[in-house]
Symmetry: C2
Subunit: 230 residues, 2 copies
């Protein structure tokens, strides 16, 4: 009755899962290796929570994701290295076909410099910032985790950020987040969010409407560098 029977594994099924922009964004975000909650993935993908939940269910059903329930959070992660490898392969093809970007817009450049990644800052500025934090031992790497270094508490207190405000939440205080453009980590987690809050509150920069782009004012950029990079 049903004609479309093919030999070979059901490649269309899995490719179709990756083929939706929202799901692709989620998977890309998970390529960092760390698991994310449904809310975070919804923000990453730029869709509402119900929509994200639906997509996550499909990805789970398709076997591309695993989930770990922890409290009232559900941490979704890639099902394994094989899945990650597949996504890298797809990325490779997409990149080599690459400059075929649909949006060659002005965003491309500005996004590289500074953009929002869920609730924290990403892009070149953010990468430099994290590098500086580690160089000055405000933060230290512990394997794939980040934690407060010996000079960290004093520093963050001095600039008005409570780095200890994090103990109760299950959300990690600091996470690193690898973005595709720079190939380097930047600071995520509660601390990263707090820093972005400060940047916006001080009006050193503003978010472009309906975009992830973060634009610094000339003066704001100086303040930012003085505060975080000097």
């Amino acid at each position: 009755m049903d004609n479309t029977m093919k030999d070979g594994p059901d490649i269309a099924r899995v490719a179709n899962l990756v083929g939706d922009p929202a799901r692709a964004n989620m998977l890309t975000a998970l390529m960092t290796g760390s698991a994310l909650t449904a809310s975070e993935l919804a923000a990453e993908a730029g869709v509402s929570l119900p929509t994200a939940s639906s997509h996550l269910a499909k990805l789970m059903d398709g076997g591309l994701l695993t989930v770990a329930s922890e409290g009232r959070h559900r941490y979704y992660g890639l099902a394994g290295p094989q899945v990650a490898g597949m996504i890298e392969a797809i990325m490779g093809v997409a990149a080599s076909l690459g400059p075929r970007r649909v949006r060659p817009g002005p965003h491309e450049k500005t996004m590289r410099e500074a953009r929002v990644c869920y609730d924290h800052l990403a892009g070149e500025h953010a990468v430099k910032m994290l590098d500086g934090f580690i160089a000055r031992e405000f933060l230290v790497r512990e394997g794939k985790e980040l934690s407060l270094g010996k000079h960290g508490a004093a520093y963050f207190a001095a600039i008005g950020i409570d780095a200890h405000d994090t103990g109760k939440s299950r959300r990690p205080a600091c996470r690193d987040c690898l973005d595709w453009s720079v190939r380097r980590s930047h600071l995520a987690g509660r601390l990263g969010a707090a820093i972005l809050d400060k940047i916006l509150a001080e009006k050193w920069a503003r978010r472009e409407k309906n975009s992830r782009v973060v634009t610094f004012s000339p003066k704001g950029k100086m303040e930012f560098e003085k505060t975080f990079l000097s």
Copy 2:
């Protein structure tokens, strides 16, 4: 205005191309490495010619295929090894998730034995047949091509198949076709088509309706073996 901007290569675009069943079947068929015509791919995918043409245009536009116009045929092939690698990666994931087959139906087994591949026979029987032809020098391999061996003309004439009917057409007389299940070649091309015609005309086997499955009758199977394998 448009919000869904993501960093990284446009993975969804290329995955979406592979995500359609018809296109996935085409790509799978092209994994043999040999280029196929639009008609052949339409048959492989189980769709009409216009539909196939539309898909091929999309795959071309997406950069996954190349095309070589040759006479009034257009031979479509994978754009390169990178694309093939990506498809293999997807196959790997799909297979490991594998026995999750949507159709666990009876087809699976019968398809392995004998099925139609465009216009010729595929499956275990077809593979054995080609093996026999080559062992008895009815056909010889020349690199990736097949051509008539020294005992071939007499043999095919004896069973009522004109193996020379092929000179004028540009379509290769014999091609080998690698199928996924058996991982071995079977006979395609004009000669392969003529043989399938004979099998059906003699009523040794019949095609299942709306399927690629070919079912041999008990007597027909004996005749088939006597004619082609003895």
